[in-house]
């Protein structure tokens, strides 16, 4: 590979004045490097912006109290125990995954293995459209369509956790289905055909051969979907409510790390107040949770990767 490039370079060099070629090459390399570096720098900057104020917060509030406290009353009693927010986040994101992952994976398997070409041509773009809908639109759908049903069926509060769970579940379907489908596509056709030739049914070939072979990709899509659900803000903000009483009642109001931060940021927060610093501590916690999830996704992909050459 390297030798061929070198040879190609030599040929090109003989065609053009050397300095013009080198300048162009250097320029492109620099521009591309800056583009790549920019993303890394921004991530670093976000982390730094969070960490300074988060550290300032932990000088006021003991981190142990913060991560083990069960009372979140930042404005009224000025008690900062993040567990109710963390629990709300895990309940809503976990519930959303219980809905979104089975549906997303089923859609991926159907599109990959079962769907006739014509159905595929219609369903796949529609799924992609679903991924492009702004989350505020999902939120309005939740308020207007889902909330009244939950009210009638389960006697839920107008603002409630179940509503957010359902709609975020729908939100992550396209994420799961498109990533899982990519993973399934990456499995060589020979493997599946082999299984079918040995007498396996389509279902057996899918569950026993295809899915295990695509496990790393499919699993990492699950984690990414969970991470997406953890960070979802707008839907939680407008449909889930604000209660922080550490409840597991999904038909009552609850909120998440992201939901609280978004709500509080739109209020009147004076710089340097404990509440102001708490925003950064919550943001930092959220950042760490999603970072860990993304690392887990990468690790899973690397660990169970089946390389087919």
């Amino acid at each position: 590979m390297g030798r061929e490039t070198a040879r190609a370079r030599k040929v090109l060099a003989s065609l053009e004045p050397k300095w013009v070629w080198e300048r162009g090459e250097t320029l492109v390399r620099v521009v591309l490097f800056l583009a790549a570096a920019f993303a890394v720098l921004v991530t670093l900057a976000i982390f730094l912006a969070l960490i300074f104020d988060a550290v300032a917060f932990f000088e006021v509030v003991n981190p142990i109290d913060f991560y083990t406290g069960t009372v979140w009353s930042p404005d009224i009693r000025e008690v900062f125990g993040v567990l109710p927010l963390l629990a709300g986040t895990l309940i809503i994101a976990g519930g959303a995954c219980l809905i979104g992952i089975p549906l997303g994976l089923s859609a991926a398997i159907y599109l990959r293995e079962y769907a006739p070409a014509r159905v595929r041509e219609v369903v796949k773009p529609v799924l992609e459209v679903l991924a492009g809908i702004p989350t505020i639109v999902y939120g309005l759908f939740a308020l207007l369509a889902v909330a009244p049903l939950l009210r009638v069926w389960f006697g839920a509060s107008f603002f409630n956790g179940a509503n957010a769970i359902i709609v975020i579940g729908i939100l992550i379907i396209p994420l799961v289905s498109s990533l899982s489908e990519d993973a399934l596509t990456a499995v060589p056709v020979d493997l599946r055909d082999g299984a079918l030739a040995l007498g396996a049914t389509k279902l057996e070939a899918t569950t026993r051969v295809l899915l295990p072979a695509a496990l790393s990709g499919v699993g990492s899509s699950f984690i990414l979907a969970f991470s997406r659900a953890v960070g979802e803000t707008m839907i939680v903000l407008i449909v889930a409510g604000q209660n922080t009483d550490l409840t597991f009642n999904i038909f009552g109001q609850m909120t998440t790390l992201a939901g609280w931060a978004a709500k509080r940021t739109t209020g009147d927060v004076a710089v340097g107040e404990t509440v102001y610093l708490a925003l950064f501590a919550v943001g930092f916690t959220l950042f760490v949770v999603t970072l860990l999830l993304n690392l887990a996704s990468d690790a899973l992909r690397a660990r169970f990767r089946e390389a087919y050459e």
Binding site: S73, I76, R77, A147, S157, F158, G241, N243, D245, G267
Partner: protein, 336 residues
């Protein structure tokens, strides 16, 4: 040799270009910095005869600041800040401010302090009434009225039996207040802690202890969202400004409040809020001025603007109860 010379000229050219770029950058930065500093000094309000300083109650602040916003122009500048009614009077009586916003009448001790410092001729201007309304859903058939101690038990976070003046601790379901009411939890909607309405409610109902206010309610600075929430189902209860409550009686119902002083439950209306019978959730709001400040044309103009139709519209827009014509006339005659 000739090739070497060529390269040098290219290098020299590019170096010259680089220096040019640096020079331009330096000039640009300098120009921006200088013009920024100049703009800062040109446009900040300067102390002078055309400046009026108002401080005091954060409850009255929205009124005076909305007046100031429309009143101010290049020649006259009213600046409004808030530090609480008492904190504002302290500044006012030291002569640091020209007028003071107050959500209660001035105290004798504050008058004495003013007199000591030579601030005399203190005049009280009524600007609006603040009436907090308790609202429930239209489909709520059981609540006819609520006492202040029932309100306290609904909104307190205190669970001890001695809370709410001995009336009892926190309730979370309707039947805990009255056994004949539904065994459904009460869904609460109210203003956020940044709001003056929140402070007022804490002061009037929760013994002025902020920490007693529950956290388990949907807080919003947007009254629209509160109305929407209370309207969403039968088991809700909320509180917000009177003006907003009366506008939405299609979906929500205002509850009369019993102050437990033998007068029975009083419904908030323009009249009951004005005459002070809607207690403890109704109160008049004032601006105070001294003789010295009232002698100034700009202060007179500002007050006159406040009492115009437009000024009273702004009062309504902030969610307070504006004055009737007779009251406005009674205020206007105090302006020299």
């Amino acid at each position: 040799m000739s090739v070497g010379e060529e390269q040098t000229s290219i290098q020299r050219g590019s170096r010259r270009g680089r220096i040019g770029g640096t020079m331009i950058a330096i000039i640009l930065v300098t120009v921006i910095a200088v013009s920024g500093v100049a703009a800062y000094y040109l446009f900040i309000p300067r102390a002078g005869p055309d400046l009026v300083r108002i401080d005091g109650s954060s409850t009255v602040f929205p009124i005076t600041s909305s007046w100031a916003e429309e009143f101010n122009n290049a020649n006259r500048q009213v600046t409004v800040a808030f530090s609480g009614t008492g904190g504002g009077f302290a500044k006012f009586c030291r002569g640091e401010t020209d007028m003071n916003d107050a959500s209660r009448p001035i105290k004798q001790s504050e008058l004495d302090l003013c007199t000591q410092n030579g601030i005399t001729g203190i005049t009280e201007f009524l600007v609006a009434y603040d009436g907090l309304s308790i609202v429930v859903n239209k489909d709520n058939t059981w609540v006819q009225n609520l006492t202040v101690s029932q309100l306290c038990r609904i909104w307190t976070s205190n669970t001890s039996a001695g809370a709410c003046g001995g009336a009892g601790g926190r309730v979370t379901a309707w039947n805990q207040l009255d056994a004949s009411w539904p065994a459904q939890s009460i869904e609460l909607y109210g203003p956020g802690t940044d709001s003056g309405t929140f402070d007022y409610f804490v002061e009037a109902i929760l013994g002025n202890v902020k920490a007693e206010h529950t956290d388990q309610y949907l807080a919003s600075e947007d009254d629209n969202q509160l109305v929407q929430g209370v309207a969403s189902n039968a088991y809700t209860l909320g509180y917000f400004g009177y003006a907003y409550a009366v506008e939405n009686t299609a979906t929500i119902r205002i509850v009369p409040i019993d102050n437990e002083d033998g007068r029975g439950a009083i419904m908030p209306t323009h009249d009951t809020i004005r005459d002070g019978s809607y207690k403890p959730l109704g109160r008049p709001l004032f601006i105070y001025a001294s003789a010295a400040s009232l002698a100034r044309q700009i202060v007179q103009d500002f007050l006159r603007f406040g009492y115009t139709t437009r000024g009273m519209q702004l009062v309504d827009a902030t969610g307070y109860v504006s004055l009737i014509d007779a009251e406005i006339q009674a205020q206007l005659v105090k302006i020299p």
